[in-house]
Symmetry: D2
């Protein structure tokens, strides 16, 4: 029997991407797609790419309907899932939050960066950070998963082998990151209009960005020491894709190509390219993969890791489905085995 799946807040980009992936999933059935504003209207009227694949209307959020699901995704703004998760968990429904409510373990840090009081601090400890390459076993057993941010996925996977093996000077890590505009969501705002963000490039939030403490937490946990990388995000004039250019100084000599290849050999959704490669964001467009290449310019001690993902797939909805598969004891790659759309 198919598992029942609900999606709260499916009018944004992570929502429609979840739907795109899940309609091809043989073991699940989408039973409930909520939107307070659009209740009563067909989902495929808003997202016509789904015409013929999804015969559902948006419904108003209801604890009853959602509690009847085996698993519920929150594709909502920050601060929503934390108010409803406990109710669903009590009903035996598993929860994956694609927003940031359960990502940061230190409540004070979370409240500072997200500008609100946390409604369920007791659940933060229980929540598993949903990066399968780091926490696969815990995710399998989790009731509540905090799906990682898009930048943190690209940055963390790019640095993981170096940090795990204590090979670099962790005080000097720089993450120069670039994202397509879909990362900003489907909100009506001037700065992400095509006439503003198109044909243009800029850095933003250099003084501080919410994904920095998330990255810092994960790297610090791995290294067992405090790591706070420099994190500079930029906005790309395109829709999908993140490129992280990561800089670190090697303190211990190692064959990095071999190191990465070995670390990720068994990972279905991390691809280490041959030495000398330059991964392109388009190679992962629509695909649930983090593709990377490792460089040492001039064979020096400076390491440059290039790491790309589709921010809506491995950086959001795809990773969430990967987590769902683990939590529901399904084959991890179900509905995620598609090559990227190139060109």
């Amino acid at each position: 029997m198919k598992r029942k799946i609900g999606i709260v807040g499916a009018t944004g980009y992570t929502g429609v991407e979840l739907l795109r992936l899940l309609v091809s999933h043989p073991a699940v059935e989408i039973t409930c797609v909520t939107s307070r504003e659009h209740a009563g209207s067909r989902v495929d009227a808003m997202f016509p790419n789904l015409r013929g694949y999804l015969d559902l209307t948006f419904t108003a959020p209801s604890d009853e309907a959602l509690s009847a699901c085996d698993l519920v995704f929150f594709a909502t703004p920050n601060g929503i899932a934390m108010k409803s998760a406990q109710t669903l968990l009590d009903a035996g429904t598993k929860v994956i939050d694609l927003a940031a409510d359960f990502r940061i373990k230190d409540i004070a840090v979370w409240e500072k960066w997200y500008g609100m009081q946390h409604a369920s601090p007791h659940l933060v400890e229980e929540a598993v950070y949903g990066l399968p390459e780091l926490n696969r076993a815990a995710i399998r057993n989790a009731r509540l998963v905090a799906n990682p941010g898009c930048y943190p996925t690209a940055v963390t996977l790019g640095l993981l082998p170096l940090v795990e093996n204590n090979l670099i000077d962790v005080a000097g890590i720089i993450a120069d990151t670039k994202s397509g505009v879909s990362g900003a969501g489907r909100k009506a705002e001037v700065h992400t209009l095509l006439a503003e963000a198109g044909d243009n490039f800029k850095a933003y939030a250099v003084a501080g960005h919410r994904h920095q403490p998330e990255i810092a937490q994960t790297l610090s946990t791995i290294a067992q020491t405090a790591i706070s990388p420099v994190f500079v995000p930029h906005l790309l004039p395109m829709i999908r894709g993140i490129h992280a250019t990561l800089y670190a100084m090697l303190t211990t000599e190692a064959d990095l190509q071999q190191l990465y290849a070995t670390r990720y050999a068994a990972e279905p959704f991390v691809d280490v390219m041959p030495a000398g490669s330059h991964p392109e964001t388009r190679s992962v467009r629509g695909a649930n993969v983090c593709r990377m290449a490792i460089h040492r310019p001039g064979n020096g001690q400076r390491v440059v890791v290039l790491s790309v993902i589709d921010n809506l797939v491995k950086g959001a909805a795809g990773q969430a489905v990967q987590n769902m598969n683990l939590m529901l004891d399904l084959a991890e790659g179900t509905a995620l085995q598609q090559p990227g759309l190139l060109p």
Copy 2:
């Protein structure tokens, strides 16, 4: 002594484009740039391309300050200029409205398409439709100019020689038009986000668009008979530029290349390309020119005119400056003699 110029509502794209052109104008001085919302903040903080060229802050709209100008541009939404124009005209200040308030002579038609009651129907008759290629003499003597819409400029100039000379079946005109997103203005809306309008193409408003009656009015006046072309606009995944593809059936034989070349020979801002050409929107990017080419596929009776403009320049701010030059008895091309930015 320099003429004093005011701009009402300079926080949109036609506003910043007026500023870009006027800061290089040797005979005018911008004395007043209004915005209710941004009063007190520097203009170049919003539009950093103007840093070093314009030392002004936005001020709240004030009849007193605007009345001290020789000429005021309204770069406002529809329905604003019609409320203030009379006061300025009474003070001896000339007015150019870049919105649609004074474009349509038939008040009932205007009220139907623009969904509001007209506040100054008595001024509509006085207002001159600011297409210099059609109304140059009247513009020179005008106190109040209705600056044409962007689509109407490209379409009307493309059809003018055919209609003036009664060469086509006016019942069968089709205007298939395509516009960059800056034509939709600098408003926060979902459908013009880069993530929505980028890498995408669609028609819109096929059932009816406000520029259709404007085009119909001008062509009908020229032809002395009612013309109501089919008008289908489309949204291009780019910022600036309109391309009109115009179809008509020739009823009288003529050398069209010669006809167009002669009609526009003395026009400083219309460029008729050699036979067989395909004008590109980028060739007019930032430039105050309508560039066109005339085709007769298979040498048949079907005429295809290709007409391009930059919707913010010849389609809005540039044409407004051209009108200002005429109204203030300055050389018509002042501040408008720049090649397009290619590539």
Copy 3:
């Protein structure tokens, strides 16, 4: 047992798109991917989106290897398939040509438009024009299929119900079409550089385009009378997608919405949107569907049909796979059931 599939000339965009679709096809096995120039190098080195999905190297074209296939796709420039098809057919291998070699029945017309002598005129008669919505039964029985051009697919499907039912004045059809640049192929040319075709829009080939006689042939065959529509293509500043805006005059009254809905009700890959809709190219990005909407502005006799496809999918590789499924007696939609990638 899986069917063996070969692809000749898989270094272009239709080639890589065939590969993207076929690696997910459960009933076929790609055994041979040829490229004279790149023989010996891995396919996924050129197209890294295929890393992990295709473990093949390009091989030099060889009749022997290709003849061992059940079916061979030619994703080559025009003029290649016509030289090799007979050999493969003789060996019992079925052939689908994605180029134009077998599309035009009148050899003289073909030779005029394609500028070369036809090498296999005797096969042209046998070849079936691979538009399943028109020729499904014949395709099932075909050894040799001429896969339709991208523009012809969008235009023909958009006009089919009108022409089949003799509802319009066929002398006045206008097809104003717009295509993303991938339609021009993966050839190093100046005019399709990002710095040339990006942020730009233009018509091209207004004097005559090879897809016009192809469209004319299909419509004429359906109508049993000569039809030669006006066909004006334009180049869009984006990668994938065709939008055809089709104009015709209704000569017989009909409920067009109903007509189209009925005509395409059983078609798995044609989607008629509700009245008043504007199909977007992004809604079919990566998907094998032709999505359309029918308009009658002002409820007059003028019909405006809006028809969109992904030029690389329903306009090329997807339609080819659909044809392959029919020719190999597989379920028609196998490997083609994916929603478009939106945003």
Copy 4:
């Protein structure tokens, strides 16, 4: 009397940009525009944005015609200017090379990076590196100017105040740079097609790029010590614009905002934005300015400088005109006083 100007190789993007700027220059006359391949055809047939502004045809390169000029620009590939410069200098004609022939003082380094033997090593010493902010006096007196590369302009101006004042650890400089595709020139190549570079982002040449030794040379000269920054370029899916994100560790405390403001206060074409700003490439589109902002995330010792230019203007043709003005004793800003095109 107007100065006579020649341009060798004006069929590329730096060539057409020189023409766009120079047609508005009141003190010069373009007398000679050469192209071996296009000799005899009109310049504005290739670049229709110049229609009405330039009445010239391309001519085959001729020492005689070029020697009659007061100054000649080489907008040619690398390796051309070095063969002709001496002849022109002997005739009293000044020379500005927009390619790299005279940028690197160490001939061995140049020959290694550019893969050819230098034809005029004796001229390399004489050539002045044309960065006015560094070498204004020498440029005024120069016969031969090496116009800087695009990346080196953005990077060097961004780091200049820090290096001049010995405030940073010069061993740890990182320049993460991003460029629009026009930087790759108007050459028919697959990797810069819209269908390849559009909607995509990647790093390239991480192992080594020709602009690295150029930057290293300039910074080393200023610092009087060897500096070899890490330099990682990326390709942006847009036409014009470079964004350099520059990282360094402060070793001496200083008020950086004040430092930069003071250093560039008298510079007409460097704009230091207020603290906290994020310069956008579009703010300099078409404009001869380097716009920058200085950040210290968390008020730590890490400095992040954001520096943007239009690669074709301040990064090439605009800077060349600025140098020309200096060399011909004209006002430095002539023909360069235009705000950027925004949006």
